[in-house]
C-alpha cells in the first residue's frame, strides 16, 4: 500500500491523474461561462454594438481553484485514501501474552483487552497459537497455548485483581518456563521487583515486546484523622505536569442511600509524586464516610476504604458527685477525660439530654441511682447497641443498688460494703491483675506491674457470675464485669474512675482497655502485635476496579496477617470486621510509593493505542460535491443569473440545495397549538378508522354547534388528535370512540395520556355498543376498551350516581342517552366519606372533575350533524327519538360544562336555586 504520512491509498495509480490538473486548468481557463439566452425585443437596437472589453470570457482564478480542488478531491477520493491503515505484524511460532492484571491495569482495562484482541486477531491470521496469562493469576502447569480464536471468546472474562503479583512466585514461575515463544507483555506501568528476573527469563524464550499505556497511574493512600481534619494523600508514579484530581467521599446518607458526601480537589505539583488534601468534615458527615475515591479513575488503587479509624465515638460522661472546685485531680472524670479527649467526642450534660444525642457510650462514674424514666430510656438505648460503662465508688458502695436482686443497669449483684486491701487498717498487699482470659475482650493486653487495686466493690457470687467476669484480680475477685442487654452491654469497673481506689487509671492499660471496649478510637494502623490472636471476617472486598462487593463466604483472616501481610488471593483489600470494630485493608498503604517502569533499551515498548482504519473516500467525495455546489452558486452569480429578474428564485433554489431542511414539523406543531389554544376546542382521538373518525368529528361539530347556540361556550371547529404526535395539554376534553381495530398507543402516548388525566383533562370513552351489550360485558369494543385503558391512570369508577354533578351542570338530567339509551355510564367513584346531609337532595361532593366518563351510548352519532346542520343519524322513533336526541345534546352540554367549570355546580351555594327548580 502506498503511504503518505498516516494516509495510505488502495489505488495509488489513480493519483497519476493529478498530473492532468494543470491541463484541466488551462482548458477551464479558456472556456468562458455559458451565456444566458434572453428574449428581448430591444435587441433590434442592440445590433451592431460591440463589447468594450472581453473581461468575463475568462473564468476568475478563485472559481478555477475551486474547480481544481474539487477535481483533485475526486481523484484523491477514488484513489481510496485510508487513514491509519492496518500494518500487519509478522511473526511465527507460539505467542505468549502476559498481562500484569493488577489494580493499576484496571484504569484502562477495556483498552488493554482491545489491544490484546487486536494482537489475537493478528495471531489468528498468522495461524499462531497463543497463551494469555495474568501474573496475578498464574496458570498451574504448562502454558495454555491454544488457538487465538478460543482466547478471543474468553477475553472478556479476564479481570484485573486488586493486588500485585508476588515477586517470589512469579520469578520462580518464569524461570521454570521452557520452549520457545514470542512474548507480548502488557505492562501496567509500575516498577516491581519481579520485572527484571521475569524479563530475562522471557527473553531467553524469544523476543519480548512491551505494551504500556502512557496514562499516569494514581493511587490513594488511606485516610488519616489528624488535628480535626481528614488527611488524604494521593500518589502517582511519574512526576512531570501539574495535575488536579478530585476526591469524592462516599457514604450512606440518612436515608441509607449511598451517595457522594463531599468532593474536593487536590493538586500534584509539577515535580511532585504526592498530593495532599486536608478535608474538614463535620463529625456527623465524617462518621458516615465509608470510602474515599479519586473521581473518574476506575481502579482499586484509587479507592481507600475507611474503618473505625475515622469514626469518632461520642461519649457522654456523668459523675455521681458534683465536681468540687479546685480538686481537679480528685474529680472522678478527670482521668477519663484525659484518656478520651484525643480520640473521642465528649458530650456533657444531664442524662436526659445526652440520651437524646444518642451517644455511642455513656460513662457513669460512681452513679448509684437513676430515676425510673431515665432507667427505661437507658434500657431502650442499650437495647439498640449502647454501651454503658460504670465505675464504682463510695456512693455505689454505700447505696443498696443491686444488692438483693440484680439491678437492670448493673451486670451483677454486689455485696454490702466492699473491701479494702493493703491499707493502713487492713491485712494483705494491694492486689495486682490476673492475665486476661482468652474470651475476654482485653485478651492480649500486657499487664503493667505497677497496677494495683487497693479497694473495690465485691460481686455477689452467683451462677452467672463467672461468665460475666472479663477481668479479675490475682486472687480471683472480679475487677471488671459485663452483661449484655439486647445489642448493647453494661460494663462495671469495680474500682473508681480516678486513682482513689487503684492505680489503674494512671497506667497505659487503662487507655488500652477503653480502646478495646471501643469507647475511644484506635490508632489507624494496628500493629501485628496488637492484633495478635484475633480473627477477622471480611465484610466487603474490593475487586480490581475498586468496586466493593459483599464478601460472601470468604474465610476469616488472622489479625497478624491483616496488619502486615501482603495482599493476595488470601487477603483481598476490603473491610474486615472483628468483635466490635472493623479494619479496612487498602491497596495503597501509608508507605506505598509508586515508581515507573524502566525497560532496557533493547525492549520495544509500544503504546496501547489501537489506530482504527478510517476510509476517507466518502469524506473526500462529499467535500468535492460540496465544492461543486459552491461552484454552481458562484457560476450563477458570475453569469448574472443571481441578479436578473429570476435571480431570486435561482438563489433560493441554490440555497435550498445546500441547506438542510426540517422547519416544517415545528411550524405544524405551532399551528396546532395556536388553533387549539386561541379558542375552546373539542377534540376526538384519531382511531385510524376513517369512518369512525369522521363520525366523531361530525358529532363534536354538532355538539359545538349546540353549545354555541345554547350556552356561553363558543367552541371553534373540533380537532382530530393523534395521540402519538400531538400535544394533548391544549384540549380540555377528548372524545375517544372505541373501535375494535384501533392500535394500542405507544408507551410514550400513554405517558402523555396519564399526564393529561392527572392534570385535569377528561376523556369520554364511548364503546358504542349499548344496543348489544351492557357495560363490562364481553363485546369486542368492551374488551378493546379494557385493553386500551389498562395502562391508564384511571381512578376507581362507579355508575354515575343520581346526585352526580353531571346531572345539573347546565340542564337537570337523569339519563344520559346517546343514540342508544343505556343507563350504564361510569364516572370516578365518589369519596367513601361523602355522606348525604339530612334535607339536602345531594351529597356534598366538592372535589374533583371526573377524569373519565365511560359509556356505550354512541353519543357522537346522536350529536352528529352534516354540513347543512341536519342530524346525520336517526335516533329512536318519531317524537320520542327526537326527545332522546335532545337529551343527548343536553348531556353533551352538561359534560362540557362539567369539564370547563369543574364542580362549580356541586357547590352547595346553588342548592336553593336548584331546589326551587326541582320544585321542592
Amino acid at each position: 500500500m502506498f503511504m503518505l504520512g498516516p494516509i495510505g491509498f488502495t489505488a495509488p495509480l489513480l493519483l497519476l491523474a493529478l498530473i492532468a490538473l494543470p491541463i484541466l486548468w488551462l482548458i477551464l481557463r479558456a472556456i468562458p461561462p455559458a451565456p444566458i439566452r434572453r428574449r428581448f425585443p430591444g435587441v433590434a437596437l442592440l445590433l451592431g454594438l460591440t463589447d468594450d472589453e472581453s473581461q468575463t470570457d475568462r473564468t476568475p482564478w478563485w472559481l478555477l481553484l475551486l474547480r481544481m480542488l474539487a477535481a483533485a478531491l475526486i481523484i484523491l477520493g477514488f484513489a481510496g485514501p485510508v487513514l491509519n491503515p492496518q500494518v500487519e505484524r509478522d511473526g511465527t511460532g507460539p505467542l505468549l501474552i502476559v498481562m500484569d492484571g493488577t489494580w493499576a491495569d484496571a484504569r484502562d482495562w477495556p483498552r488493554r483487552l482491545d489491544r490484546v484482541e487486536g494482537l489475537l486477531d493478528e495471531a489468528s491470521r498468522a495461524g499462531r497459537t497463543v497463551a494469555v496469562i495474568r501474573l496475578t493469576d498464574l496458570p498451574a502447569g504448562d502454558l495454555p497455548f491454544q488457538a487465538a480464536e478460543s482466547w478471543s471468546s474468553r477475553l472478556n472474562n479476564l479481570t484485573p485483581y486488586p493486588w500485585e503479583p508476588d515477586t517470589d512466585t512469579v520469578t520462580a514461575w518464569a524461570e521454570a518456563l521452557d520452549g520457545n515463544f514470542e512474548t507480548f507483555w502488557m505492562s501496567d506501568g509500575l516498577n516491581r521487583d519481579h520485572r527484571d528476573p521475569v524479563l530475562s527469563a522471557l527473553e531467553a524464550r524469544g523476543t519480548v515486546t512491551v505494551f504500556e499505556s502512557p496514562r499516569p497511574v494514581l493511587a490513594l493512600r488511606p485516610a488519616r484523622f489528624e488535628d480535626g481534619v481528614v488527611k488524604l494523600t494521593a500518589i502517582r508514579a511519574v512526576p512531570g505536569v501539574e495535575r488536579a484530581v478530585t476526591v469524592t467521599a462516599r457514604g450512606l446518607d440518612p436515608s441509607g442511600v449511598e451517595r457522594a458526601l463531599a468532593t474536593a480537589e487536590m493538586t500534584f505539583e509539577a515535580d511532585a509524586t504526592e498530593a495532599e488534601l486536608d478535608l474538614s468534615l463535620p463529625p456527623e458527615l465524617r462518621n458516615r464516610v465509608t470510602r474515599f475515591e479519586l473521581t473518574g479513575i476506575r481502579s482499586a488503587g484509587a479507592v481507600t476504604l475507611t474503618d473505625d479509624a475515622l469514626k469518632r465515638r461520642e461519649v457522654a460522661m456523668i459523675a455521681g458527685t458534683s465536681d468540687r472546685e479546685g480538686l481537679e485531680l480528685l474529680s472522678p472524670l478527670h482521668y477519663l477525660r484525659q484518656a478520651l479527649v484525643p480520640t473521642a467526642d465528649i458530650i456533657d450534660g444531664t442524662l436526659g439530654d445526652v440520651l437524646l444525642a444518642n451517644p455511642d457510650a455513656i460513662i457513669f462514674a460512681d452513679v448509684a441511682n437513676v430515676t425510673e424514666t431515665e432507667q427505661d430510656a437507658l434500657l431502650d438505648w442499650l437495647d439498640q447497641g449502647g454501651l454503658l460503662l460504670r465505675f464504682a465508688g463510695p456512693r455505689l458502695a454505700a447505696s443498696d443498688v443491686s444488692r438483693r436482686e440484680e439491678d437492670p443497669l448493673m451486670p451483677i449483684r454486689l455485696r454490702e460494703g466492699g473491701r479494702t486491701v493493703g491499707g493502713a487498717m487492713s491485712w494483705g498487699e494491694p492486689k495486682a491483675l490476673q492475665p486476661f482470659a482468652e474470651d475476654s475482650p482485653f485478651y492480649g493486653l500486657g499487664i503493667p506491674e505497677e497496677v494495683a487495686v487497693t479497694a473495690q466493690v465485691m460481686a455477689q457470687p452467683g451462677p452467672e457470675l463467672s461468665e460475666r467476669v472479663i477481668a479479675a484480680l490475682v486472687d480471683g475477685t472480679p475487677l471488671v464485669t459485663r452483661k449484655r442487654i439486647g445489642d448493647g452491654q453494661v460494663i462495671l469497673f469495680h474500682v473508681t474512675a480516678n486513682a482513689e481506689w487503684s492505680s489503674l487509671p494512671l497506667s497505659g492499660l487503662y487507655v488500652s482497655m477503653l480502646e478495646r471496649m471501643a469507647i475511644s478510637t484506635r490508632p489507624s494502623n494496628p500493629t501485628a502485635e496488637e492484633l495478635q490472636g484475633t480473627t477477622w471476617t471480611p465484610q466487603e472486598v474490593l475487586d480490581g476496579f475498586g468496586t466493593a462487593r459483599d464478601a460472601g463466604t470468604l474465610p476469616g483472616v488472622a489479625g497478624e496477617d491483616l496488619a502486615g501481610g501482603q495482599l493476595g488471593p488470601d487477603l483481598a483489600p476490603g473491610l474486615y470486621a472483628g468483635e466490635d470494630r472493623s479494619i479496612a485493608v487498602n491497596v495503597a498503604r501509608d508507605d506505598t510509593t509508586l515508581s515507573p517502569t524502566s525497560w532496557p533499551a533493547r525492549i520495544v515498548v509500544e503504546g496501547l493505542a489501537l489506530a482504527r482504519e478510517t476510509v476517507l473516500k466518502g469524506y473526500a467525495l462529499t467535500f468535492a460535491l460540496m465544492l461543486l455546489a459552491v461552484d454552481m452558486i458562484a457560476s450563477l452569480f458570475l453569469s448574472g443569473r443571481l441578479r436578473g429578474p429570476r435571480g431570486g428564485i435561482a438563489a433560493v433554489l441554490a440555497l435550498f440545495l445546500l441547506m438542510p431542511q426540517g422547519a416544517d414539523a415545528q411550524d405544524q406543531d405551532d399551528a396546532l397549538a395556536l388553533s387549539a389554544t386561541s379558542e375552546v376546542v373539542l377534540a376526538h382521538v384519531v382511531t385510524g378508522d376513517g369512518r369512525l373518525d369522521d363520525l366523531a368529528f361530525a358529532g363534536l361539530t354538532g355538539l359545538s354547534e349546540t353549545l354555541r347556540r345554547r350556552t356561553s361556550i363558543e367552541p371553534a371547529e373540533p380537532l382530530a388528535v393523534n395521540l402519538e404526535t400531538d400535544e394533548l395539554a391544549f384540549f380540555p376534553f377528548l372524545y375517544w370512540p372505541i373501535s375494535e381495530a384501533q392500535p394500542i398507543p405507544s408507551s410514550d402516548a400513554y405517558a402523555k395520556l396519564n399526564r393529561y388525566l392527572r392534570s385535569g383533562g377528561m376523556i369520554l370513552f364511548d364503546t358504542r355498543d349499548a344496543n348489544v351489550g351492557r357495560f363490562g360485558s364481553g363485546t369486542p369494543e368492551g374488551r378493546k376498551l379494557q385493553q386500551l385503558a389498562r395502562p391508564l391512570d384511571v381512578p376507581a369508577l362507579e355508575p354515575i350516581p343520581s346526585d352526580h354533578v353531571l346531572t345539573r351542570t347546565f340542564y337537570l338530567l337523569q339519563d344520559f342517552p346517546g343514540r342508544y339509551a343505556s343507563r350504564d355510564v361510569w364516572v370516578e367513584a365518589a369519596p367513601a366519606d361523602a355522606e348525604q346531609v339530612e334535607g339536602m337532595p345531594f351529597r356534598n361532593l366538592n372535589d374533583g372533575v371526573t377524569p373519565v366518563v365511560i359509556g356505550g351510548n354512541d353519543w357522537a352519532s346522536a350529536w352528529a350533524v352534516d354540513r347543512t346542520g341536519g342530524a346525520m343519524f336517526p335516533v329512536g322513533r318519531g317524537y320520542a327519538g327526537e326527545r332522546q336526541r335532545e337529551i343527548a345534546n343536553r348531556f353533551g352540554v352538561n359534560l362540557i360544562m362539567h369539564v370547563l367549570t369543574g364542580n362549580y355546580k356541586s357547590d352547595q351555594v346553588h342548592v336553593p336555586a336548584l331546589l326551587d327548580r326541582l320544585g321542592q
Binding site: P32, P33, A34, P35, I36, R37, R38, R39, F40, P41, G42, V43, A44, L45, L46, L47, L49, D51, D52, E53, S54, Q55, T56, D57, L638, S639, G640, R641, R643, G644, P645
Partner: protein
C-alpha cells in the same frame, strides 16, 4: 402575459369550434375592460366646433351673398330687419382607423405579473374604439381591411379582430390599406423594428391628408435594460440575435439608441402634425387613454 392574449396566440389551425370558444372566453373581458376604461373618460361636448350638417344648433349668422333663400331662418329673421341663417353644428362622423401592432415583439413582458405590451395596446385600442363609437364616430381596425364603421356591432367586430391571432413577424409594420382620405389614424406599437416602413406609412398617411396619433408602448425593462453578464439577446421570434459578453456595458449605448429612436418618431410625427407619446406597461392605462382621447380631439 394574461390568459386572454395567450389563448389567442396559441390558437392556430382551423379548429373553428375551439377558436370560437376561446374567443367567447377572452372577448368579453377585453370588451368589458375597454368599456370600463372608456367610462372613466368624461365625454365632453364632442362637436366639431364648426358649422355644418348636424342636429345641434350652432349659430345664427346674417345672410350673406350666395346663401340660398331656403336656408333663412324665418323665425329668427322676423325679430329683426336682417335675414338670419340658422347654422347647425357640423356633426359629420369622423373615420378613425386604428392600427395595433400584433407582432411577436409586442408579446414581451419583463415580469409575469405585468401585462404584455400587446395586451395593453389592444386594451387601449378597444377602449378608444368604445369611446369613439359612443361619440358617434366611425372606427375601423386596419387589420380588418374594411372601411371604418360606427355602431356597437363594429365594436364586437373590432374586439373579435383584436383577440384573434394572426401569424405575424417579429416587428410590426403599420398597415395603411383602406385608410380613407382626410380620416384620422391611431398607430399603437412599440416601434422597435425597422423605421423605414413606419416612415413610408407616415408619408402615405400624410399624402392622404390623414392626421392622427402615434403611441409607443414599452415595457419598463426595455427602458431600464437591467441585464448583466454574458448574454445572448434574441428577438421574440428569434429572427434577430445579439451576443454580448458584458451586457451591463451595453446599457448606456442602448439607452442612447432608444432615446434616438424616440426622437426620430417625435420628429416624424411633428412633420406630419401628428401626436406622439410613449406609454409604459407599468403605468396606468387610463392616462394613456386620456392622452389618446385628447390627441384625437386635437386632430380637428
Amino acid at each position: 402575459m394574461s390568459d386572454a392574449s395567450q389563448s389567442g396566440l396559441t390558437q392556430t389551425g382551423p379548429r373553428l369550434r375551439s377558436r370560437s370558444e376561446a374567443l367567447a372566453g377572452t372577448m368579453p373581458p377585453l370588451l368589458a375592460d375597454a368599456e370600463r376604461l372608456a367610462s372613466t373618460v368624461v365625454l365632453g361636448a364632442h362637436g366639431r366646433r364648426r358649422s355644418g350638417m348636424g342636429d345641434e344648433f350652432w349659430q345664427y349668422r346674417p345672410m350673406a351673398h350666395g346663401d340660398e333663400a331656403r336656408m333663412i331662418d324665418w323665425r329668427r329673421s322676423a325679430k329683426s330687419d336682417v335675414h338670419f341663417i340658422k347654422e347647425k353644428e357640423w356633426q359629420a362622423a369622423q373615420s378613425v382607423l386604428i392600427w395595433v401592432d400584433d407582432s411577436q415583439s409586442m408579446a414581451f413582458t419583463g415580469d409575469k405579473n405585468r401585462a404584455t405590451k400587446s395586451d395593453r395596446a389592444r386594451l387601449l385600442a378597444l377602449a378608444m374604439s368604445v369611446l369613439l363609437v359612443r361619440g358617434g364616430e366611425r372606427v375601423g381596425l386596419s387589420t380588418i381591411g374594411q372601411a371604418p364603421r360606427s355602431g356597437p356591432v363594429q365594436l364586437v367586430r373590432i374586439a373579435e379582430a383584436l383577440t384573434s391571432d394572426r401569424d405575424s413577424g417579429d416587428y410590426g409594420v403599420p398597415q395603411t390599406t383602406g385608410l380613407p382620405f382626410q380620416s384620422r389614424a391611431i398607430f399603437i406599437s412599440d416601434f422597435m423594428g425597422d423605421m423605414a416602413p413606419v416612415e413610408a406609412a407616415m408619408a402615405k398617411a400624410a399624402d392622404r391628408g390623414v392626421r392622427g396619433a402615434m403611441l409607443q408602448v414599452l415595457d419598463p425593462m426595455e427602458e431600464s435594460f437591467p441585464f448583466d453578464g454574458r448574454t445572448i439577446f434574441e428577438s421574440m421570434g428569434g429572427s434577430l440575435r445579439h451576443e454580448t459578453l458584458k451586457a451591463g456595458d451595453l446599457k448606456t449605448r442602448y439607452l442612447d439608441r432608444l432615446a434616438e429612436r424616440k426622437g426620430r418618431l417625435t420628429a416624424l410625427t411633428q412633420q406630419a402634425a401628428w401626436q406622439f407619446d410613449t406609454h409604459h406597461t407599468d403605468g396606468s392605462a387610463q392616462a394613456a387613454l386620456l392622452w389618446l382621447y385628447r390627441a384625437t380631439e386635437r386632430m380637428h
